[in-house]
């Protein structure tokens, strides 16, 4: 099984992209806990692309903004006990895995409000790898599970 979905990188498309990933996890035969972990890991990666990969800074006019927004390519494939998800964009080269992990031991006053997204992705999947290839940022998420 191998399915690719290509949609423009907007928050409006997040639900469709998430369903695609969820359906793959379900079709793989993952249990509810693993499916939740995959959903969370995937959302964080997708939102990162939606918010940062393409230039949305200049114009509030919808048509102009949309013309600047590129695509997200989401591919899910399943073997007997491994789900592999790749998320690709054509924005400027950027490796989200380079960000330092947040310090989760700080007090409420010291904690920053953001910074958990990619950290959660790394925690929820078995491996997360980045490559920049043929002008694309490609993040590969792998999760092993029991059949």
């Amino acid at each position: 099984m191998n399915k690719t979905l290509v949609l423009s990188a907007t928050l409006e498309n997040l639900g469709t992209l998430m369903s695609h990933g969820r359906d793959a996890a379900v079709a793989c035969g993952m249990d509810a806990k693993a499916i939740h972990q995959v959903e969370l890991a995937l959302e964080e990666v997708l939102v990162n692309v939606i918010n940062y990969a393409y230039d949305q800074s200049q114009d509030q006019d919808q048509s102009t903004v949309l013309s600047k927004i590129g695509d997200i390519e989401l591919d899910c494939s399943c073997t007997s006990n491994t789900l592999t998800i790749t998320v690709a964009d054509q924005g400027p080269a950027f490796n989200p895995l380079d960000q330092p992990d947040p310090d989760t031991t700080l007090s409420v006053e010291e904690r920053t409000v953001g910074g958990l997204g990619i950290f959660l992705t790394k925690q929820m999947m078995d491996t997360v790898t980045y490559e920049n290839s043929r002008g694309k940022n490609i993040l590969t998420l792998v999760k092993h599970f029991k059949e």
Binding site: E43, V47, E109
Partner: protein, 112 residues
């Protein structure tokens, strides 16, 4: 409705429902913000109806924690299911928030 609100004595009871993701989080943030501004001295957030939370939802909660702390209000959470609790644990939120298994236990802690 992602956020439901009831008042019990001096406590704001907030019930979170469904999914708090990047799309729904801004609305949840606004709803809870309004309740906090108008609010009572104590706040209880019940997670019983919550199926899913991502970092967008965690941002809302850390913001609520900072605000209640700054305002000197008590905040407790209850009824997190296993999946949600795991996200809290990994994020270090189990050390930040007072979390109880049931609403009864959480209310008792607020009264203490």
């Amino acid at each position: 409705m992602a956020v439901e609100h009831e008042i019990l004595n001096q406590t704001d009871l907030i019930f979170l429902n469904g999914r708090i993701d990047a799309r729904s989080a801004p609305g949840v943030n606004e709803e809870i913000g309004k309740i906090l501004d108008a609010g009572k001295n104590k706040m209880l957030i019940n997670f019983k109806g919550l199926e899913y939370i991502s970092s967008a939802g965690l941002r809302v909660l850390i913001t609520v924690a900072k605000k209640t702390k700054a305002l000197g209000k008590d905040l407790v959470l209850c009824s997190l299911d296993e999946k949600i609790y795991e996200v809290f644990d990994i994020s270090g939120f189990t050390a930040i928030f007072k979390i109880f298994e049931t609403q009864e236990d959480a209310l008792a802690a607020l009264e203490a």
